[in-house]
């Protein structure tokens, strides 16, 4: 269906400016890169570097001030609100730092959610969600509510929810930020497995150590790309005080 020669993501001079109190904040100031199918890319940077803004744009939750964003053949900036919602539903699986599970719903119901917005029949929905939970190792926790699960298990539910609609992109925002190091390690390993199975993953993090483990990393500073290359190299980059040009 998709031309594999075309990158999954192609952004060109993407910018997002906020206007706060008569002043223009250039949260993202002309960022360009491509991400191909099957890549595992870390977007790394300190807070204020623009990585959250970039993630919101990549996740089609926000629209850019200028520049272009092509996701799997669709020009995102031309889409209506409804079309963006459908695009998020179809193309993107979100994994959040705070898990963002619905507290009153079971693990299974949480995982079913994206399929509800796609109009999948109840029976098919249930089967698909169960399969997704099994694939993250939660076969025996399906009917537990989030508050009955450990942090690592919650994040696995969130990952199952992100995977259930078979999106072309897994977008993880500090997925280990609320986990202890051992559980975090398990989650990172899970991402590794998913990537090995062919999933495209973008991992947004402020931790250079985490970025170093990804095959590719893009380092942001002050809304611009500081470096783009193998994870271990880019993560180690120390930006000059002013990137300027």
């Amino acid at each position: 269906m998709t031309d594999t020669h075309e990158p999954l993501i192609s952004i060109d001079r993407l910018a997002r400016h906020y206007f706060v109190g008569g002043e223009t904040v250039r949260a993202l100031d002309g960022v360009s890169f491509d991400i191909r199918h099957g890549e595992w890319v870390a977007i790394v940077g300190q807070s204020g570097s623009g990585k959250s803004t970039l993630m919101n744009l990549l996740g089609c939750l926000d629209t850019a001030t200028s520049g272009t964003y092509r996701l799997n053949g669709a020009d995102v900036e031309t889409l209506s609100d409804d079309q963006l919602a459908d695009l998020r539903n179809k193309e993107i699986g979100f994994v959040f730092q705070t898990f963002q599970l619905l507290p009153r719903a079971s693990a299974l119901a949480n995982v079913e959610l994206p399929l509800i917005y796609r109009g999948v029949s109840r029976k098919e929905r249930r089967a698909t969600a169960e399969q997704a939970l099994r694939s993250v190792g939660l076969a025996n926790r399906m009917h537990h509510r989030p508050n009955e699960l450990s942090g690592g298990q919650r994040q696995r539910v969130a990952i199952a929810r992100a995977l259930v609609g078979e999106p072309s992109l897994l977008l993880a925002d500090e997925p280990t930020g609320n986990l202890d190091s051992q559980t975090g390690e398990e989650i990172v390993r899970l991402f590794g497995e998913l990537n090995a199975r062919g999933h495209t993953i973008i991992l947004v993090t402020h931790e250079p150590r985490l970025a170093a483990r990804c095959p590719r990393a893009i380092k942001l500073m002050d809304g611009r790309v500081l470096g783009d290359g193998p994870g271990a190299e880019v993560a180690a980059l120390q930006g000059p005080r002013a990137v300027g040009t």
Binding site: D82, N89, Q100, L101, R104, R118, G119, S121
Partner: protein, 416 residues
């Protein structure tokens, strides 16, 4: 296409599920929120049920008056502003008018005089006072006077010969001859105002009309009444027309009676033509006003209840800002969120409406039990209660739902 329908259906079901689980998760809050709606719907339903009960019993009571009968009387039964003294000073109606109508009215199917006074009726040791005695003729039943349950009614010869015969009302028969079957009451002697009378019939039970007991009466020939009970009283003349000919009869009667009473052309009628639907009209005016007040009170309460729902829905939207963000991130469209919250507010309101309907009907039944008021439970009233409250929920849910739908997903996800 099929996908879109399936999507809409599953979003609806999801919306309902969310609404119910949100209600279950905040039971006290849901209860307090719906209290306004509960009280509003309860008030309206109770009043509507009581008014409808009144309507039914009034209609059946009024049915005791002939639908096609005019009652010629010195008095206007429903006095709408006419001077009491004017009517008081009118000349009595009597045989002159009765005979004129019997002779001249071609639209009249049946003409019956009705002379009345309270009397004491006795048989053996049993004595009943305050019994209404009506003097009339054999046409009385045709004009709407009820039916005979045992024996026979007055015949023409009873009237012509002024016989001392009497037809008993059902209660009179039961109280004068306790435990005696009506068939065996026939032929017994009773004393009406001291004079001996022979029982020839018993009237079927008729119940009450406007607080008047229709079964505690005795009926005797008109001529006998004039002889024994005093002939100076003004009488009422019941005149029945063919169905649909009532207006023609009315026109005719006015002319006949004016001539009989020699009313000069420039003077107004010195008599009144009363009819059943005058009662209905008066009654409709009264209950119409009551309806208006009830609906007004109910609407105000519903609006207050609606504001309560709007308030709590705004709180709910704020509380669930992150949930809204998550749903938007996972692919929920604006209108999906809008619908979700509209369903929730409607469900809250409809539940309040259901409880209010139940309580309202309970109140109506209770009122019917402890008071002479009747109560009728109609499916229409129930549907009205539920429909109204759900509509209120929908209307007052619009603004909170709109706010929820238009939250910025990024902001919503970040909301603490």
């Amino acid at each position: 296409m099929k996908r879109a329908i399936q999507r809409a259906a599953s979003e609806w079901i999801e919306g309902l599920r969310i609404a119910l689980s949100s209600l279950a998760g905040n039971q006290l809050r849901s209860f307090l929120t719906t209290l306004g709606i509960v009280i509003g719907v309860m008030t309206v339903i109770a009043i509507v049920a009581i008014i409808q009960g009144l309507n039914q019993s009034f209609a059946s009571q009024i049915g005791n008056l002939g639908a096609h009968t005019l009652y010629v009387d010195k008095w206007k039964w429903i006095n709408t502003g006419e001077d009491w003294w004017t009517m008081r000073n009118r000349k009595n109606l009597g045989r002159t008018e009765l005979e004129a109508i019997e002779r001249e009215a071609v639209e009249a199917l049946a003409v019956a005089p009705m002379a009345g006074r309270p009397v004491t009726v006795a048989a053996g040791d049993e004595e009943l006072s305050g019994i209404r005695c009506t003097g009339t003729n054999e046409r009385y039943l045709q004009t709407g006077g009820g039916n005979v349950a045992a024996g026979r009614f007055l015949g023409p010869s009873d009237v012509d010969l002024a016989r001392s015969v009497v037809v008993l009302g059902a209660d009179v028969a039961d109280r004068l001859f306790p435990g005696v079957p009506w068939e065996r009451v026939l032929g017994k002697r009773v004393r009406v105002r001291g004079a001996p009378f022979t029982v020839i019939g018993v009237l079927a039970r008729r119940g009450r009309m406007l607080g008047m007991d229709l079964d505690t009466n005795v009926t005797i020939p008109f001529t006998t009444f004039l002889r024994d009970m005093g002939g100076k009283r003004s009488i009422t003349i019941a005149v029945t027309s063919a169905p649909g000919r009532l207006p023609a009869l009315e026109d005719e009667l006015v002319g006949i009676i004016r001539r009989a009473r020699r009313v000069p052309p420039e003077k107004a009628d010195d008599f009144s033509l009363n009819r059943q639907d005058q009662f209905l009209k008066l009654y409709d005016q009264l209950t119409g006003a009551l309806y208006g007040v009830a609906v007004g009170v109910g609407l105000i309460t519903l609006v207050v209840g609606g504001i309560g729902i709007m308030n709590i829905m705004l709180v709910s939207v704020t509380e669930r800002t992150r949930e809204i963000g998550v749903r938007r991130a996972l692919g929920a469209r604006k209108r999906t969120i809008l619908m979700q919250f509209l369903i929730e507010s409607s469900v809250v309101a409809a539940m309040g409406g259901a409880v209010g309907t139940g309580l309202g009907l309970g109140v109506a039944v209770l009122v019917a039990l402890v008071s002479p008021l009747a109560a009728a439970v109609t499916p229409g009233a129930v549907a009205l209660g539920l429909g109204f409250s759900a509509t209120v929920g929908l209307l007052f849910g619009i603004w909170p739902a709109w706010r929820a739908a238009n939250l910025d997903p990024v902001e919503a996800l970040r909301y603490e």
